[in-house]
């Protein structure tokens, strides 16, 4: 078990390392570079000054050398300075990370609960009317563009019914807990609806398969109550594959969070990455992307561990 965790941690680090190089290279391919942007907004600057500035910041060096320098600094916790925020990247990132974690974890928890209820309900009678309704909901959830779902919810609940605010994280001068929850409600609802569909399909198919197993029939034959058979015998076993695919969908969830945060003007990681790419804030974009990758990699690692913990038949080595 210990060796397994160590090996997976090592693999995670490797993927992160490869990603950091790839993303570093890609960011360098984005239009302009910091000095060009500086020069463009400063009329009358001579090419000699530009060249000198590039030399000062090391931008005239080859890619590998620059990456090496960046990596050494990053390993010491120095991710550079955000151009647009005029703050160290870490200080911009920390609150955004917290905001995204709130959004993702609440939505993830809600869609897990919803998918368990709906998935089990439809698996009990495949091809019944409950199953038909749930399947339609699941297909709708997979097929809806997240940004458009957000739009429809804004149109309904903010513009039409005036129940909830359309964007932002809190009202100026309020900012209490209730106010924050009201602002988080629509983003969470969007992300939950968008991910619950896929989860429901996982739960449904795993549950249908498990309910056909011999041990379920045995449990029924021995007179176990319906609830006990469904929850203790069937669901516990059906959950094993489901937990894995759910944790694996964290990358998708993050993509959804990016769209949701952009739609509802939430200052989270997703919106921060999006804005930093739009405004050529290289350090912020690079660090944000790496942290986003780290989150999904850790979720995958968690999935592997949960898999072994839920299923004693699997020995992790």
């Amino acid at each position: 078990m210990g060796a397994f965790v160590a090996r997976r941690m090592f693999e995670t680090l490797i993927v992160l390392f490869v990603m950091s190089f790839v993303v570093y290279g890609l960011i360098g391919l984005m239009p302009g570079d910091p000095i060009d942007i500086m020069a463009a907004s400063t009329p009358g600057v001579t090419p000699e000054v530009v060249a000198k500035l590039k030399a000062i910041y090391g931008l005239d060096q080859p890619l590998l050398l620059r990456y090496g320098r960046w990596l050494i600094a990053a390993l010491q916790g120095d991710f550079g300075f955000s151009r647009t925020h005029s703050q160290p990247v870490v200080e911009v990132l920390a609150p955004a990370l917290w905001q995204t974690c709130k959004l993702m974890l609440i939505s993830f928890a809600l869609s897990v609960v919803a998918s368990l209820v709906l998935g089990v309900a439809s698996a009990l009678k495949p091809a019944g009317w409950v199953d038909a309704l749930v399947s339609l909901f699941a297909f709708a959830g997979i097929s809806v563009p997240v940004f458009w779902l957000a739009l429809v919810l804004i149109l309904t609940f903010a513009v039409g019914l005036h129940w909830l605010p359309a964007s932002g994280m809190s009202n100026v001068g309020d900012g209490g807990l209730m106010d924050q929850i009201r602002h988080l409600a629509l983003p969470v609802l969007t992300l939950t609806l968008a991910s619950a569909g896929q989860f429901t399909r996982y739960v449904r198919s795993a549950m249908i398969e498990t309910l056909r197993m011999d041990f379920v029939r045995t449990a029924r034959a021995k007179g176990a109550g319906a609830l006990r058979v469904i929850v203790t015998h069937a669901l516990r076993n059906a959950l094993i594959p489901v937990v894995t695919v759910m944790a694996l969908s964290f990358g998708t969830l993050f993509s959804g969070a990016l769209v949701t945060e952009t739609m509802f003007a939430q200052q989270g990681m997703g919106k921060m990455i999006y804005d930093s790419i739009l405004s050529n804030d290289y350090n912020l974009a690079l660090t944000g992307l790496l942290f986003a990758t780290l989150i999904t990699l850790l979720a995958n690692l968690g999935a592997d561990l949960a898999y072994g913990w839920l299923d004693p038949r699997i020995s992790l080595k």
């Binding site: 297909f139 458009w148 694996l248 998708t252 993509s255």
Partner: protein, 315 residues
């Protein structure tokens, strides 16, 4: 796999034994799948809708790209059936042309990504060993990535820095192919996994072994004996991929990193959606609704085909 279908061919006594091909059976099973048939019909309607742009444009006598700032956000009229957008352009025509772009990208990126997936899956499944585990690690790695932010970075890459001419880099064609390529580069993992699994189950069958014994090479075996026998799950996977690609294209274009206006796509027609919500709510609905209908239809079509192709999935 063929059915000695005397019971279904009794009307033709002369052909006492008529072979019914496996595709005939599959078609028959698909026809019984209501969701699949309905979605096939819906998809045909969507395609017809998009193609109707050409006759409609000449019938109405308007140019879909002509802007008219004096008639922004006009309501429906005899000339503009669904009204006009923020540039005073005809909304209906732009929906039709935008649909052509979105559907075309869906198909092209699926084919390109699918080719990557099929080749890697075949190679991994057939050769196995180190190559297999290396390729499958790669698949795991790509699946774990937060796709959308990466697609945005790729879409933001300045083509001139890669050595393309500035003229090409800023043309509409470059924008179109860029979206196709970056989606295809990432969306091949599902197909690769599936093809690998199918290859593993087929490659030890007797007819493959017989062909190998008579001297067939690895790539001949993969192309002639394995691929044709695993084509049904590939078709299903391709169908599901089309829907996913359309969603990716729409969100990229919506965020301003996909198809660049004035070329319409269902995604970029919503790019100023936050403004639309208050000024012209209907315009915020149409493009998204079309994406939704198209993608849900492709997903249901894939589901229906899966039922038709896999006799065991009868639940």
């Amino acid at each position: 796999m063929t059915d000695i279908g005397s019971h279904s061919e009794t009307a033709q006594p002369r052909r006492a034994i008529a072979a019914v091909s496996v595709w005939h059976l599959r078609l028959r099973r698909f026809r019984r799948h209501r969701g699949g048939m309905a979605s096939l019909f819906v998809l045909l309607l969507v395609v017809l809708f998009c193609l109707a742009a050409y006759p409609l444009e000449s019938y109405l006598g308007i140019d879909s790209n002509a802007t008219d700032l004096l008639s922004r956000y006009d309501g429906p009229s005899a000339l503009h059936w669904l009204g006009t957008d923020e540039g005073g352009r005809d909304e209906l025509l732009r929906l039709m042309y935008g649909g052509q772009i979105s559907l075309l990208i869906g198909l092209l990126a699926t084919v390109f990504g699918g080719m990557i997936g099929v080749s890697l899956g075949l190679v991994a499944g057939y050769f196995g060993g180190r190559l297999d585990s290396l390729l499958m690690r790669l698949v795991d790695g790509v699946i774990a990535l937060p796709l959308l932010p990466l697609l945005i970075v790729l879409a933001a890459v300045d083509l001139t820095k890669l050595g393309f001419s500035s003229e090409f880099a800023h043309s509409g064609a470059a924008g179109f192919w860029r979206v196709v390529v970056i989606i295809a580069v990432f969306d091949w993992t599902a197909v690769a996994r599936l093809v690998r699994a199918a290859t593993l189950s087929v490659k030890e069958r007797d007819y493959v072994l017989a062909a190998r014994a008579s001297g067939a090479g690895a790539f001949y075996l993969m192309g002639v004996h394995i691929l044709p026998n695993i084509v049904t799950p590939i078709i299903v996977a391709f169908t599901l991929t089309v829907g996913r690609v359309i969603l990716f294209e729409s969100v990229l274009s919506f965020l301003g990193f996909g198809i660049v206006p004035p070329t319409p796509s269902w995604g970029n027609m919503l790019s100023n959606a936050q403004e639309l919500v208050f000024t012209a709510p209907a315009l915020a609905i149409y493009p998204g609704l079309l994406i939704f209908i198209t993608v849900i239809a492709t997903n249901l079509l894939g589901d229906g085909m899966q039922h038709a192709f896999d006799p065991r999935s009868e639940t």
